[in-house]
Symmetry: C2
Subunit: 340 residues, 2 copies
DNA sequence: ATTAGCACTCAGTAAATATGAGTGCTAATA
DNA sequence: TATTAGCACTCATATTTACTGAGTGCTAAT
């Protein structure tokens, strides 16, 4: 268990290191107003803290830096997750809504705003359309053999794909099929579309045997429409200002990792579903992020569960500020009404 | 005017430097099979080439490197723009078409392929939808007051936007408006939509006075739909392998510049409209690209003018190979039929 | 006109030497 | 018994110095 002074020292070390990115020495600490002990005393406590694995030294004659365990302790004991400044939340909400009312734009803005506030990189995952329900499906003919399949969800999300048919489409045939699909599939979550169509297809076969071929094609196309989840990156260049990313060896893996959209999406989707969660250094299990910490949170927009937002910075990130800003932003989003 | 030997030497210097990224010395050159002169002779010619501004030395005791003027000479005199290897073009075409038939995917693939072939970064601008003609416009109601405006073009391009109405929409009213818009605007290039609607709006006013308000809203929304040109980036990480981008000072401006999508789009759109065009170092006028050269070309797909593709590498890029690959790719695209 | 020869230049590397911030331990002090 | 002053020791970093070697320009010989 930590003595009060040790706690004070640990906190001072971390706060200082977060600011300066330099190892913190005993003399520096003893000069602080809130630590009126001699450097020797502090050295003794530091030795204890090191024994406990909370801090470490890069080499013999350097000061101490927090270890991952130390950060973990700091985050768990010294950072308040739930601290919302009503006025600031309100102001952030205003800033967000000023830009747009469309949800996708709103999320993009939120990501940008969050990275402006913190100077870290943010990633936001939009709503997974998998949960959206089919509002309407349609086929717009372009010419005899080509058409665009349109899928609109109850959330106003649109997906589309161009299809080419083997043989010219009979207009009434198309209309019939579309109507059929709409009748049967309206309200189906997009994620289940494929499955549901499998169920319906036997009915179809009986009802419209003669043009079975083209119908199948249309259905295939419908199912084949991709359901990408939209991904927004904010403040990517902030990384250039972090002292720990001033060398190619550290910078390159990070940049290569963050540019890989698909992997990024998978990662965000795989995160545990919580309100605000901090993952420190190697905890996140990603090689390219071994020197990074991540603050993630699911967010809701207008009350509805929506997506995930993440903030990525060096392990030496300002957890207190980061967590606070994250809290404010998701609260501002939560309070945002989609329609005016 | 250059003597034959000087030309030989210039070419050798550039070829060598492109390979090694190291200044080339007289002794190195004299050891080449195609340059059986003594190093002293070569030194004399090098001095002349330097006087002409074609090569320069980083410092007294280094070898020579090509100057921008030198590269320009090399590109203008020693690189053949139009050299197509039928078999390879065919093979590239196959590789492209294997992946997809949809034009947007095809372009993305082309960008990736080109950067694979050259190890440089590529940027491709998709078709500007401005030239696409309206095939159909539609409004899909989501609930009483929200709907999705859909715009489909003759090329199968889809754009959409969610609109919120002040007051509930009357279904027949909506239908009427949509029909009206479709009747009047079908075939209009997207770029002119705004203008054309201005012309039509007075007619509308007369015809449907009572619900003028909602109609106006719908029309506004229609016009307000954005027309983004799609942009694809290929092989961004290739830059990390270029020796001239091993330091943050050079890397950072490049990465920051290339991540700025809008600026990138504007830049590509502003390029002179030619088949293959090489811009060397500071010629391109972009600070972040002062150490880069760019090979650009407009391309056509299935015969139709489509967009622009660019390849960005260090000034010390392999112009011969780059130009050749660019030629092959745009030729492969040109020969690609959109429907099977 | 070409080449051999030689003195000279200068980036890059490596070894040699300081510098100083910081530590751990011990003994004195409150 | 907890704190502090004092001191020897460590080690990354900066500075100096010397050395190496690839390359040049010039001159004199071929």
């Amino acid at each position: 268990m930590l003595t009060e002074r040790q706690l004070l020292i640990l906190r001072a070390i971390i706060d200082d290191y977060i600011q300066t990115a330099q190892p913190v020495g005993s003399r520096t600490l003893s000069k602080r107003d809130d630590l009126s002990f001699s450097s020797a005393t502090i050295r003794n406590d530091m030795a204890d803290l090191e024994d406990m694995g909370l801090i470490e030294k890069p080499h013999t004659s350097a000061g101490r830096i927090p270890s991952e365990v130390g950060y973990r302790y700091y985050v768990d004991h010294l950072v308040e997750t739930k601290l919302i400044d009503e006025r600031e939340t309100y102001r952030l909400g205003e800033r967000l809504r000023a830009s747009a009312q469309e949800s996708e734009v709103l999320i993009r803005q939120a990501a940008d705003l969050l990275s402006d506030l913190t100077n870290y990189t943010t990633v936001a995952l939009g709503p997974s359309s998998q949960m959206n329900r089919l509002a309407r499906i349609d086929l717009m003919p372009l010419d005899e053999r080509r058409g665009v399949v349109l899928i609109v969800t109850d959330q106003g999300h649109v997906e589309h794909r161009t299809v080419v048919f083997e043989s010219p489409m009979a207009p009434d045939m198309v209309e019939q099929t579309i109507r059929f699909l709409n009748d049967r599939l309206k309200g189906t979550p997009l994620g289940q579309l494929k499955f549901r169509i499998g169920e319906e297809v036997s009915n179809l076969r009986l009802a419209h045997q003669q043009q079975y071929e083209s119908m199948m094609q249309l259905i295939q196309a419908t199912v084949g429409v991709h359901h990408p989840t939209s991904l927004y990156l904010g403040g990517k260049k902030n990384i250039f200002n972090q002292p720990e990313f001033q060398t190619l060896d550290t910078l390159r893996p990070f940049l290569e990792w963050i540019d890989e959209q698909e992997r990024l999406t998978d990662w965000l989707e795989s995160l545990p579903n919580r309100e605000i969660y901090v993952s420190i250094g190697s905890e996140n299990g990603i090689l390219a992020l071994q020197n990074c910490s991540v603050i993630t949170s699911d967010y809701t927009l207008d009350g509805k569960t929506f997506g995930t937002i993440a903030m990525i910075g060096p392990t030496r990130m300002d957890y207190r500020h980061g967590v606070r800003m994250m809290g404010q932003i998701i609260e501002a989003l939560r309070r945002t009404k989609l329609e005016e």
